[in-house]
């Protein structure tokens, strides 16, 4: 899997304080074999971190509300959960292995790349406990990892020492090498695994439909040297439905945490997204599948994605084309035999109601009252709304699934 960022993207990133990027023309990140597993192995640690802070705040809230006996029970439960979290986290850290993750920084001028390497190495070796490391043409450092901050405070002194020991035992190298006009940086547990491909066939991009790059693309940093290739995923396992809905849920959950006034709205939005995800999964199953993706530009921007169709069968239909320069939106679909969405109207309507309730709860008192009155009026007709939904399902069930839709600005 690889992603390329051009100068414009880097400028945007610079707004996020990532240091001086004036020497860099473009950057690419490539995840070699095993890197996806490395990142997914992080998941338990992230879960523990999230759960720890949640447990603490919930525990505190209950303690304030409860009498003495329940207080003791709550304290014991929080303590037990804390112990379980500690075991999970230390377990992950002890068996940790980072497969190589590459970053390629392409310099604006070839002579700038060695300077970029020197600068990076100097800042890395200045880290506390860092040791210089070399492996073939690679120069870098072995980092000394340690944890601090709020995360550790909840654990006992003994547990904190065990976590620090586990981190000390985690080898993490950052190695660098200059090739052509690029600085290649690799993060890994074993520098011997860091290898630069000698040809396009060895590249992480191999097989991702990169043949069009031909002899013009140099294999090492194909992404940084080929100005028109932006991103490539090669048989990366993912679930498009779960990825998208997971992302939406995550955003709403964060918003709910940060914005207390609008919390009910964001919480119901999370519920609504979960409901929509369940509906979508009837169309696109949630399990992961290998996805290949390529994004490049010529006179247009192109994004191509390929994955298995999961048994979805489509049949051509003689659908009329409704398209002209004045058409704002034109949609055309052939018959979809498998994977039709079966809308669960009662669930959909309940989701909409919950969302509207959540929105009403965030309004000013005077507006909230009128919104809640409108909702009360709607509830008088909720049976009729469900009946409409079922009637619509029955009506649309007589259609074959092919359609053409057009919205035109004028005739």
């Amino acid at each position: 899997m690889a992603v390329r960022m051009d100068e414009g993207t880097l400028k945007l990133l610079r707004a996020g304080d990532v240091g001086d990027l004036s020497d860099i023309d473009s950057a690419a990140i490539a995840f070699g074999a095993g890197s996806a597993e490395t990142l997914s192995a992080l998941q338990p640690v992230i879960e523990v971190m999230g759960e720890c802070s949640e447990n603490e705040s919930m525990g505190e809230m209950w303690m304030e509300l409860a009498d003495e006996l329940p207080q003791r029970i709550i304290a014991a439960q929080v303590e037990q959960r804390r112990g379980e979290n500690f075991e999970r986290m230390v377990g992950v850290l002890r068996s940790w292995h980072t497969a190589p993750i590459y970053a390629v920084l392409s310099a604006k001028k070839a002579e700038l790349a060695p300077g970029m390497q020197e600068q990076l190495l100097a800042s890395l070796t200045a880290q506390e406990g860092a040791q210089a490391a070399e492996q073939g043409a690679w120069k870098g450092v072995k980092l000394a990892l340690h944890a601090d901050g709020d995360l550790l405070e909840q654990f006992s002194v003994l547990q904190q020492m065990q976590i620090q020991d586990a981190l000390k035992g985690m080898p993490l190298y950052i190695m660098t090498q200059v090739r052509d006009n690029s600085l290649v940086v690799v993060v890994c547990s074993d520098p011997q695994q860091a290898q630069l491909p000698e040809g396009t066939a060895q590249s992480v991009l191999a097989g991702a439909g990169t043949a069009f790059m031909g002899a013009h693309a140099k294999p090492l940093a194909a992404l940084s040297l080929e100005p028109n290739l932006y991103a490539a995923l090669n048989n990366c396992r993912m679930s498009p439905t779960r990825t998208m809905t997971g992302l939406c849920s995550g955003v709403f959950k964060t918003m709910a945490e940060q914005d207390a006034a609008s919390r009910p709205l964001y919480q119901t939005a999370v519920q609504a997204v979960d409901n929509i995800a369940r509906q979508l999964e009837t169309l696109s199953p949630a399990e992961t599948r290998p996805v290949t993706l390529l994004a490049w530009s010529d006179d247009k921007l192109h994004i191509e994605m390929e994955s298995d169709a999961h048994g979805m069968v489509m049949q051509p239909a003689a659908t009329p084309e409704v398209n002209s320069p004045n058409t704002i939106l034109s949609v055309r679909a052939d018959r979809c035999v498998g994977g039709t969405v079966h809308l669960d109207w009662p669930t959909l309507l309940t989701s909409c109601e919950q969302l509207a309730d959540g929105m009403a709860a965030t309004l000013e008192p005077e507006s909230r009252f009128s919104a809640q009155s409108a909702m009360a009026q709607y509830r008088l007709f909720s049976n009729e709304a469900a009946q409409f939904g079922q009637a619509f399902s029955s009506w649309s069930g007589a259609l074959d699934g092919s359609f053409a839709l057009a919205i035109q600005a004028d005739g």
Partner: protein, 183 residues
């Protein structure tokens, strides 16, 4: 100049978009049955509101021929060719639209079988910004003017965006997105 206007005097005319949906039919009898269920649901809602439901069976509809199909157009109390809700049903297609003329052209349009089955979407921001701007000017609506400006800003960069999903016989799904920049 937008073709569709609703209103009395020219000063009050509001441009409207023309919308059409044409669907393949697999069971015409089932379509009629579903339609009756929809009417029944509408009738019950109106009755609960204490409204007279007889008008549902007395809608002012005109019928015109369009090839082998008949176009049923709802007569509205103003003269606007592109605001003429129309429906046409045959054994193979159901066409619903806001404009009788557009429905007529879609019903008569030959539907050729594509080489590979697909779902495609095409979006153009320029005609959208033109339409919104014309509506905002007539209605003096600031929100709409802002939406028109946003669409116009997008149209400076993008002339057309399209996406196509194809499912191959070998159980592969291909998604192609193309963004054509504005000239």
């Amino acid at each position: 100049m937008p073709a569709s206007m609703v209103g009395g005097s020219p000063a009050q005319m509001v441009p409207v978009p023309r919308i059409v949906l044409s669907c393949g039919v697999q069971n015409r009898a089932g379509l009629n049955e579903g339609w009756n269920l929809l009417l029944h649901a509408a009738e019950q809602s109106l009755q609960k509101l204490g409204q007279d439901t007889s008008f549902l069976n007395e809608l002012p509809v005109t019928t015109t021929a369009s090839g082998e199909a008949a176009l049923y157009t709802l007569a509205l109390p103003f003269n606007c060719p592109d605001m003429s809700p129309t429906i046409a049903v045959t054994d193979s297609r159901l066409t619903i639209g806001s404009s009788a003329a557009l429905c007529d052209s879609v019903v008569k349009a030959p539907g050729a079988l594509p080489q590979q089955p697909s779902v495609s979407v095409v979006f153009r921001p320029k005609p959208l910004s033109d339409l919104l701007k014309a509506e905002a000017d007539v209605m003096q609506d600031e929100d709409m003017a802002e939406a028109a400006e946003n669409a116009a800003a997008l149209s400076l960069f993008v002339r057309e965006a399209s996406a196509t999903v194809t499912v191959t016989p070998a159980d592969r799904m291909l998604l192609k997105v193309e963004v054509t920049p504005a000239e």
